[in-house]
């Protein structure tokens, strides 16, 4: 029998003071990011903010400074340029704050045709989005997230106890916020694809939490004379090898996607990778200790 971890008996609950502190910082970061997004000060993708993005593939390497200079000279404002040096690609983003300027994409192409005449390029992708669409997307995403949170709380509350539902929802929310916060600090662009990644990791982290809770429930039913802290600690230790094996496999899947998935998949996989690590951490160090924090009245699990 090959085992990464044998039978463990780690006092996870004893560490809760430190883990709560760390999680507090992570969540604060996420809240700041959320606030900045609300204010429009974060690096929102144009699918949310509205604007134009043009991705070009050149034959020869292009200097990002020269490109910026040329674009600014042509009178385009709020231009952001990102380069993918490996493929001689440039991503030019122009954020529109008022209306969709139909000609922005053409203007960008013209600039490169004129100022970089000796370096032919093909257009990989253009995206133009009016601000009304962006706002609708933002609203839709928020509604979807709220509804799924509510559904989860209700389901977990029905299957376990109310406080389990709340703890699971907090842990899941914690993970999403933490990844959002890290992305904000790294100044990564928040696009629709990143939101998809956040939702995916919410699903993953939830599964992780439910697995731990399930074991806690089982143990609570079997031996309810033990102190709560011991019961929870035992449960976490019992499912630990499963938690580690699954997280490792998912990380094994995500590393090649992050490194070689191409520019479209890179940020997406990175968000998932961070999410898996944080999600694993949170089901052990956040969701479970929350149950100690909020002991509640003995619910249906303990009454038997």
């Amino acid at each position: 029998m090959l085992e990464i971890l044998g039978k463990t008996s780690i006092d996870f609950m004893g560490w809760r003071r430190y883990s709560f502190a760390l999680s507090g910082v992570l969540m604060l970061l996420g809240l700041i990011a959320l606030l900045q997004i609300g204010r429009g000060a974060a690096n929102l993708g144009i699918d949310f903010a509205g604007g134009t993005a043009v991705q070009l593939k050149f034959e020869k390497p292009v200097s990002i400074e020269k490109a910026r200079e040329a674009l600014l000279k042509s009178g385009l404002k709020e231009v952001e340029i990102q380069d993918f040096t490996a493929d001689n690609k440039l991503l030019v983003r122009v954020k529109a704050t008022t209306t969709i300027e139909e000609k922005v994409a053409e203007k960008v192409l013209d600039v490169f045709k004129k100022d970089f005449a000796d370096d032919p390029f093909v257009v990989d992708a253009t995206t133009e989005i009016g601000p009304t669409i962006g706002q609708k997307l933002q609203k839709d995403a928020l509604i979807a997230i709220s509804i799924s949170m509510l559904g989860i709380i209700l389901y977990v509350a029905a299957r376990f106890e109310f406080r389990f539902g709340i703890a699971a929802a907090i842990a899941t929310f914690h993970d999403v916020l933490a990844v959002l916060g890290i992305f904000y600090v790294l100044d990564k662009e928040i696009t629709l694809l990143i939101v998809t990644a956040l939702l995916t990791l919410a699903g993953y982290s939830l599964t992780d939490t439910v697995v731990v809770f399930d074991r806690i429930r089982e143990n609570l039913k079997m031996r309810h004379r033990d102190p709560l802290e011991t019961t929870i600690n035992n449960a976490v230790n019992q499912v630990l090898s499963r938690t580690v094996v699954v997280s490792l496999t998912v990380i094994l899947v995500l590393i090649p996607l992050t490194l070689a998935g191409g520019e479209v998949l890179h940020d997406f996989s990175l968000a998932l990778l961070l999410g898996v690590i944080i999600g694993t951490y949170s089901s052990v160090f956040v969701a479970s200790p929350l149950l100690i924090l909020w002991k509640g009245t003995p619910g249906k699990l303990l009454r038997r």
């Binding site: 090959l2 990464i4 991705q55 593939k57 969709i100 994409a105 093909v122 257009v123 990989d124 992708a125 253009t126 995206t127 133009e128 989005i129 669409i133 997307l137 839709d140 995403a141 509604i143 979807a144 509804i147 799924s148 989860i152 389901y155 977990v156 299957r159 629709l192 694809l193 998809t196 990644a197 939702l199 919410a202 699903g203 993953y204 939830l206 599964t207 697995v211 399930d214 074991r215 089982e218 019992q238 499912v239 499963r242 699954v246 490792l248 496999t249 998912v250 094994l252 899947v253 995500l254 090649p256 996607l257 490194l259 070689a260 998935g261 191409g262 479209v264 998949l265 997406f268 998932l272």
Partner: protein
């Protein structure tokens, strides 16, 4: 123990059905016999625009403009009618987005005006506003009707144009009240396709006003971009019934663009709705032009106009750009005309398409435009597939190393998951996008999770000294609730995303929900059958796990 045969049959049937459904999505399908292609599923998974390249546009029809256009036309008709019936009216003008104002020459003319308008313009309601002024507004149900008709006509026109442009499997549909979604997969020249869709293609024939002093003062050529200055300089002197429009020239050698301003009558002598056909022809100097045919009313009108205006110049205008302004040499009968101008064969071809498909009833605005070039699409799909495959191999190896022979069972479950999922997606003719691939990856992750949960439980049971079969059964039973709970919670998330998400998020939700359902099936039936099968053939006293 439950009988194995029934479950085994169920499993085999689902695998075969999935493979048959998925077959059309592979290159293998083209080499299948004819009877197969005809009688069995022949539509597979479609690749999304982000994977195969193409254009996704959301157009918004400016339906209010359709009302303005209708009111403008009515105002024109009124002027003619009043002149015909000798009603003393000073002016008829559209004064706001929804109103026409009539100024009377004498206060007593109100009755005469009302008798004409009540009879001829029942969709307008008029009220006096002061002594000599009448204000007409369009009735609200009529305004609604015009707006609705504008959107559905725009939809029809866009569809006609794209059909003639020739795109494989385009998607054109209405979204909400005003919006039209257009998806053109695999288009090589996105700019051209967009122009083709967006052009209002309102063809007008307008007489030049050559008498007025402004016409003589206008410069013959200005560089492109200087139009505003011309308008600013001459704007105040233009008579109210005229306007300045520009003709575009491109110098063949340098590619420099210049514009020629013309002073033309605002009122169109003839518009494109009397066209029956438009085709490209090549002139004697290898220049492309578009030859158009009028219907019988159009032909008569055109003949009359040309007869009345011999030796005068008439501008041929498309979407407020002058294409040419030839001098009418003689009366032109037969209902034919030519549109010449400085354009390439390709441009002439597109012009003929938009003229044939008809004008848009109101301008459309592109409010969302996602264009993915074919190379990026190919790049993403190659890299995506390569790294997914690589990741899959890593997982398969890991499972076998960690769980030995039971790992093979887990690998079987993963393959089963993947086969059923692609089969089901193909069965629904789903569109696979990048977020969809993300959904598949998550499903694989959850498949691994289910197996690991069960195996860890079985290991625990074995550690307590149970024999193999009871340990397997107990492991499955105990893991079952956990698997169910974790899947249902994820399903809730997937469902919320499906209901409230848009576009790519919806695609993700679909693969996720299907994947979870399939995963439950394989975890609870698929792998258990294999264990039971192994157990039946001779009692196992050791399990490689």
């Amino acid at each position: 123990m439950k009988p194995v045969a029934g479950r085994l049959l169920l499993l085999s049937v689902t695998i075969v059905v999935s493979l048959v459904l998925f077959l059309p999505s592979t290159p293998l399908f083209s080499s299948m016999p004819e009877w197969w292609k005809r009688n069995l599923p022949n539509k597979g998974i479609t690749l999304g625009l982000d994977l195969q390249g193409g254009i996704h546009l959301v157009l918004e029809v400016e339906a209010e403009r359709a009302i303005e256009i209708a009111l403008d036309r009515m105002a024109g008709n009124m002027t003619e009618l009043f002149a015909e019936k000798k009603v003393p009216v000073e002016s008829v003008k559209r004064t706001s987005l929804t109103e026409i104002t009539i100024n009377l020459s004498a206060p007593g003319a109100k009755e005469a005006v009302f008798s004409v308008t009540d009879d001829q313009f029942p969709t307008l309601s008029g009220r006096p506003s002061g002594d000599r002024v009448l204000v007409y507004a369009m009735k609200s149900d009529e305004a609604e009707r015009i707006k609705k008709a504008a959107v559905s006509q725009a939809l029809e026109t866009v569809r006609n144009r794209i059909d003639q442009f020739g795109v494989a499997e385009p998607l054109i549909q209405q979204q909400g009240l005003r919006q039209i979604v257009v998806q053109l997969p695999g288009v090589k020249d996105p700019g051209r396709a967009k122009a083709l869709i967006k052009n209002t293609a309102l063809l007008e024939f307008k007489m030049l006003d050559e008498e007025h002093k402004v016409a003589r003062a206008l410069p013959s050529r200005v560089p492109a971009g200087k139009e505003e200055e011309v308008l600013k300089e001459f704007g105040p002197q233009i008579p109210p019934e005229d306007e300045i429009l520009f003709e575009r020239h491109v110098e063949k050698d340098t590619g420099r663009v210049t514009k020629t301003p013309y002073l033309v009558k605002k009122r169109a002598a003839l518009t494109g709705d009397v066209l029956t056909d438009a085709r490209v022809a090549i002139g004697e100097f290898q220049n492309a032009y578009v030859s158009i045919n009028f219907d019988s009313t159009g032909a008569k009108l055109f003949e009359r106009i040309t007869a009345e205006n011999v030796k005068k110049r008439m501008a041929i205008i498309l979407d407020n750009t002058v294409y040419s302004a030839p001098v009418i040499q003689e009366r032109i009968g037969g209902g034919r005309a030519q549109i010449t101008g400085s354009f390439s064969t390709e441009e002439a071809n597109d012009l003929a398409i938009v003229l044939r498909a008809g004008a848009l009833p109101a301008p459309v605005k592109i409010i969302q435009d996602l264009t993915v070039g074919p190379s990026l699409g190919r790049d993403s799909i190659e890299k995506g597939i390569r790294s997914t495959l690589f990741a899959g191999v890593v997982v398969i190896c890991f499972m076998v190393i960690y769980y030995r022979r039971s790992g093979l069972i887990a690998d079987f479950a993963l393959m089963l998951n993947l086969i059923l999922l692609v089969g089901l997606l193909a069965g629904f003719n789903a569109t696979l996008t990048l977020p969809g691939i993300a959904g598949i990856i998550l499903t694989i992750g959850m498949g691994v999770d289910s197996n690991v949960l069960m195996f860890e439980r079985i290991r625990e049971e074995l550690r307590t000294g149970k024999p193999v079969r009871p340990a397997v059964d107990a492991g499955y039973d105990k893991a079952f609730l956990t698997i169910l709970d974790s899947h249902v919670t994820t399903l809730i998330t997937g469902f919320a995303l499906f209901l409230f998400g848009t576009g790519p998020i919806k695609g993700f939700a679909v693969t996720l929900c299907l994947g979870i359902a399939i995963n439950l099936f394989t975890a609870l039936i698929g792998t258990k059958v294999i264990f039971d099968l192994l157990n039946r053939r001779g009692q196992m006293d050791r399990l490689s796990i």
